[in-house]
Subunit: 238 residues, 2 copies
DNA sequence: CGGCGCATTGAATAACTTCAAGGCTGGTGG
DNA sequence: CCACCAGCCTTGAAGTTATTCAATGCGCCG
């Protein structure tokens, strides 16, 4: 990758990062944070299919996706994979472990992915010293809760077409919040993974995309999805 | 209700309440909390069908269910109700609003219900002064996230029978954690509400219960559900 | 260029929803 | 006290939707 492009990507990722004050302290009470309070332990790079954490593992850090994408999954009794969530740049991973201190799910990289690692033990101490950081932490956790609720709202819809429209719409929204082009998406996940996220067979997902294409809402070519009629998509989910 | 029974119920509710140190400060750093730090503003009593908060309303407090039961719902475009969660004694309500500061859903009482109201603004300040309180707060929030994830895991299952078995099993578990009899449940919600929680038609829910009864797993009589074979139920969900 | 993984599409089957009727229960008023 | 009413639950039958099984197509990488 070219250095200039790389730098631009980094800047973009950090600007939109929900926790960027953690690595670059700022805000009204920035003075209460010392320079060495920067929380980011290190960056980790994961290859496709690599695991960030596994189920049962002790929670020692939460993670922020800088670049790439992750999925969090659980394995049902029959070994079938259930996808609990997809995590895009700027989003947080690992909050599901807060209740017990151990991860309930595992996080798997979908593409080449870089994450910022935030040691969990220090996070609480630091939050206590910085009201704005604490508020921000609560807000980020709240966003995770809100995404879970969006997921639930998708799944409760009984028609496959509605779930799929909600999925595409939600992705578009998150890409937009992440500062990326919103009209053309390149999905980091397969049809099968979408199906395991939406509670549908992969064929049903494929047919759903085809149907949206027939209706002129999107243009699909494998994992490349172009939003042709955002208004129509909005109407489908509203 | 007789006074003795009432007192016993209160004691039980508070003992198992996830946040009972808030109203009766205790723990290793209890001394850092002053008596007037008790957070509970007041108790509120709701009749069946009454609303605790509505969508769009500013988050000014979170609530702990002391007695009774609540549901949180959203309304789809067609006015159809979706049930996001049921909230039993000892559980917290209102966390979905953390991201934006406004409630995304509304909370409706299913029976006569009493809740403890925890002013949100003071909660953060107090948590900063008490590490153990902060840890507890995070844990309770984590429990909310975990319940949402359980909900998602139910909904992803494509077979109605599996979802229903998971629902009954999960309820039993929560009754048990709340210190109540685990073998006989009296459901506070209707078949229709269960359906809107599980993404199923109410008739499908009814048939699912009947099927579990035929198989000797439970005995059903309207809203009274007796767990006859807990091992079999565990096998169905495991 | 060939192979492999992933996506699409078709046809048959299974599952769930919808429509409809009947039954149970708890509350209310005669 | 009993009958009736309303709401909720159950059960049956028909219709719809999604899954499963199967075959084909497409693109990417070695």
């Amino acid at each position: 990758m070219e250095p200039a492009l790389e730098l631009a990507r980094l800047r973009r990722a950090c600007t939109h990062c929900t926790m960027h004050t953690l690595c670059l302290p700022a805000g009204s009470d920035a003075l209460s944070l010392r320079p060495q309070d920067s929380l980011i332990r290190s960056d980790r790079t994961l290859g496709r299919g690599e695991r960030l954490f596994r189920a049962g593992q002790v929670l020692d850090a939460v993670y922020l996706v800088r670049d790439g994408a992750l999925k969090t999954i659980t394995l049902a009794k029959d070994g079938e994979e259930q996808v609990l969530g997809f995590h895009l740049p700027g989003e947080m991973v690992g909050l599901g472990a807060l209740a017990t201190g151990r991860h309930r799910s595992e996080a798997v990289s979908l593409t080449a992915t870089r994450v910022c690692e935030v040691p969990f033990a220090e996070l609480g101490q630091l939050a206590a010293r910085s009201p704005s950081l604490q508020a921000q932490l609560l807000r980020v956790m709240g966003q995770g809760v809100a995404r879970d609720q969006d997921h639930v709202e998708m799944l409760i819809r009984r028609q496959a077409a509605e779930r799929i429209a909600l999925f595409v719409h939600g992705l578009q929204e998150r890409y937009r919040l992440g500062g990326r082009s919103a009209s053309e998406l390149v999905l980091p996940m397969s049809r099968e993974e979408i199906g395991r996220f939406l509670g549908l067979a992969l064929e049903t997902v494929s047919r759903g995309f085809s149907r949206l294409q027939e209706d002129g809402v999107i243009a699909v070519s494998g994992r490349r999805v172009e939003i042709l009629d955002a208004a129509a998509l909005g109407r489908l989910v509203q």
